[in-house]
């Protein structure tokens, strides 16, 4: 049997990749995808811990995360379309009308 630590390390790596991509990538769609990657890393952690504790609540949490991620994607893509209509670009560096 694969020890639980492997799953935790994998999900930590996935989460870190998501964070790094969020900070580095310049295309809004890619940035958005990196958030999805982070959420899926969390899901993996939940499933691993649910297995460890022999408790379904972790798996139920995963369902909720997936549903919420779908709702977020719907809203997020709608906002991205609105951005594209007003700017004709999806580069985050060019979405800078307001500066600090």
């Amino acid at each position: 049997m694969v020890p639980i630590a492997y799953y935790l390390v994998l999900s930590a790596i996935l989460f870190s990749i998501g964070v790094a991509a969020f900070l580095i990538k310049r295309n809004i769609i890619t940035v958005f995808m990196s958030i999805e990657l982070m959420l899926n890393a969390v899901n993996l952690t939940f499933v691993a811990f649910a297995h460890q504790w022999h408790h379904v609540s972790g798996q139920i949490f995963v369902f909720f995360v997936m549903v919420v991620a779908a709702a977020e994607a719907a809203v997020g893509l709608a906002i991205i379309i609105a951005i594209f209509r007003t700017r004709s670009t999806l580069n985050v560096d060019q979405v800078d009308l307001m500066k600090l």
Binding site: G18, L39, F64, V65, V68, G76, A78, L97, M98
Partner: protein, 494 residues
């Protein structure tokens, strides 16, 4: 408790959900060019009903429902009433600001109701799953509201910044929950407390706590997670900014109080220094950033960062007084900030005609009511006695001093001094001799909904500043229920 009676524990949420659904159903039935104001008044009615339902919940004995996921107690009632009040004023302000072009507002009214449901669930949830669902209901509603001016260039830009950073924060919050679930095997807040206080503190628990702190830090725009606030506030419609700078933050602070004091008191030696630094940096950065802002909405955004810092000071006090002070401060900040945005929304309309501080020059001569109201809210934001802002700061710093946090109190007081300068700039501008300006001439007449909104916020600020006793008593009762949950569960486990 029987199944039917459980509904009373979430009565305000149920009322607001039904109101939102009715608005969504009614919207397509109206003619295309018809005004959406009737829907707005329906939302106002629903919110009023939810407000009274929240008050009525005080008569219920404190207790849980739905398998221990929801808990109604003085703490939840305090935040329910606060959130319902903020949404009520925001709806009135929107009805006023939308004045002439009220055709596309059906969704906005419904989203405000749905968002309020999410925030209310956050403040009464005792299960991290429900906290997460509530947080997302409130966040997704506010993302859409921020994008409401989708034809202008700034609207979608503000929404995408809010959306991306908000989802980023949510992922951290979730990872934190997952790690705490890993450390304890449960996501039930009172049970977590029992499991953590009786065993060695596991490393997953500490990392999970830090992750949750990051997630909530973004939502309340505390330094170093504040970058989104000024841009989002600048681009979103003013009535919506009034809502999202207060209600979701109050709900997030309620979650933070419940998580830190009920679930994770065993880790307080770990989270207290983190919150100390977040508080000190938020106050300093917020106030220094506000000094050089020319746009009044950006200035208030930085001021909201600073106020989040003052509020976090109360968190570090680790006492029931601190919890009560934090709740009280959330209420007093909400009342005065929503009031200030009511004036700005009326003056600028939904599309922000008046944005710069100098645009407000001579407002008090054009309209003594609007100018006076704005000046009053700014004075309260400074924290002059006889306003809610003063007592809020007083209780926060008093609770910090009682717990021996001298340095944090000094930082806070110095910051309150700095803040006077930038709040005085719009104040001076409002009472300066008017120059002839088309912008001021364009300000419409004060309407009935705005009168009500100003009446509620001014009365609220005065009540919190002159006779704060009853509000403070409710906040203190709430603080005690938070802590009693802790002792109950720890004794039960032992």
């Amino acid at each position: 408790m029987t199944d039917v009676a459980q509904v009373f524990r979430i009565l305000p949420e149920v009322i607001l959900t039904i109101t939102g659904v009715l608005i969504m159903l009614g919207e397509p039935l109206l003619a295309k060019n018809a005004s959406r104001k009737p829907l707005g008044w329906l939302a106002v009615l629903g919110t009023l009903a939810a407000l009274f339902a929240s008050f009525w919940q005080l008569q219920l004995p404190a207790g849980t429902a739905y398998f221990g996921t929801v808990q109604t107690d003085a703490f939840s009632v305090f935040f329910h009433v606060l959130i319902a009040g903020i949404v009520l004023v925001t709806l009135l302000v929107t009805l006023d600001a939308a004045g002439r072009d009220a055709e596309s507002l059906g969704e906005l009214f419904a989203l405000m109701c749905f968002g309020a449901v999410g925030m209310m669930l956050m403040s009464c949830a005792t299960e991290l799953l429900l906290v997460f669902v509530g947080l997302e209901i409130s966040s997704i509603s506010t993302y859409i509201m921020a994008a409401f001016r989708r034809k202008s260039a700034k609207g979608p830009e503000s929404a995408i910044k809010y959306f991306l950073l908000g989802s980023f924060a949510t992922a951290f919050f979730l990872y934190g929950i997952a790690l705490i679930f890993g450390a304890t095997g449960t996501t039930d807040i009172p049970q977590i407390a029992g499991l953590l206080s009786t065993s060695q503190v596991p490393v997953f628990g500490v990392i999970g706590m830090a992750m949750i702190l990051i997630g909530i830090g973004f939502k309340v725009s505390a330094v170093p997670f504040q970058v989104w606030a000024p841009d989002v506030y600048e681009g979103a419609p003013s009535p919506v900014v009034g809502l999202m700078s207060t209600a979701p933050k109050a709900a997030a602070f309620a979650v933070l109080l419940r998580v830190l004091y009920t679930a994770l008191p065993a880790l307080h030696s770990h989270w207290q220094p983190l919150i100390w630094w977040m508080a000190a940096l938020s106050m300093t950065f917020g106030n220094l950033g506000a000094l050089r802002q020319q746009n009044i909405k950006r200035m208030l955004a930085y001021s909201s960062i600073a106020h989040a810092g003052y509020l976090l000071v109360a968190f570090t006090a680790l006492s029931p007084d601190g919890i009560a002070a934090a709740s009280f401060y959330a209420a007093s900040y909400a009342v005065m900030n929503v009031g200030a945005f009511a004036v700005i929304s009326h003056a600028g309309g939904m599309d922000d005609r008046l944005t710069l501080i100098q645009d407000y020059r001579g407002l008090a001569y054009r309209s003594p009511l609007l100018g006076g109201a704005l000046a009053f809210f700014l004075i309260s934001l400074i924290g002059i006695p006889f306003t809610g802002g003063f007592f809020g700061k007083f209780y926060v710093f008093a609770s910090a001093l009682h717990s021996g946090l001298v340095w944090l109190t000094i930082i806070g007081l110095v910051n309150s001094g700095i803040a006077v300068y930038y709040y005085l700039r719009p104040l001076v501008s409002v009472y300066s001799k008017p120059v002839h300006s088309d912008l001021l001439d364009g300000i419409p007449r004060v309407t009935v909904p705005l009168m009500f909104a100003l009446l509620i916020t001014i009365a609220g600020t005065l009540i919190l500043g002159i006779v704060p006793g009853r509000v403070l008593a409710l906040a203190k009762a709430g603080a005690l229920t938070l802590q009693s949950t802790v002792s109950d569960t720890t004794t039960a486990v032992k």
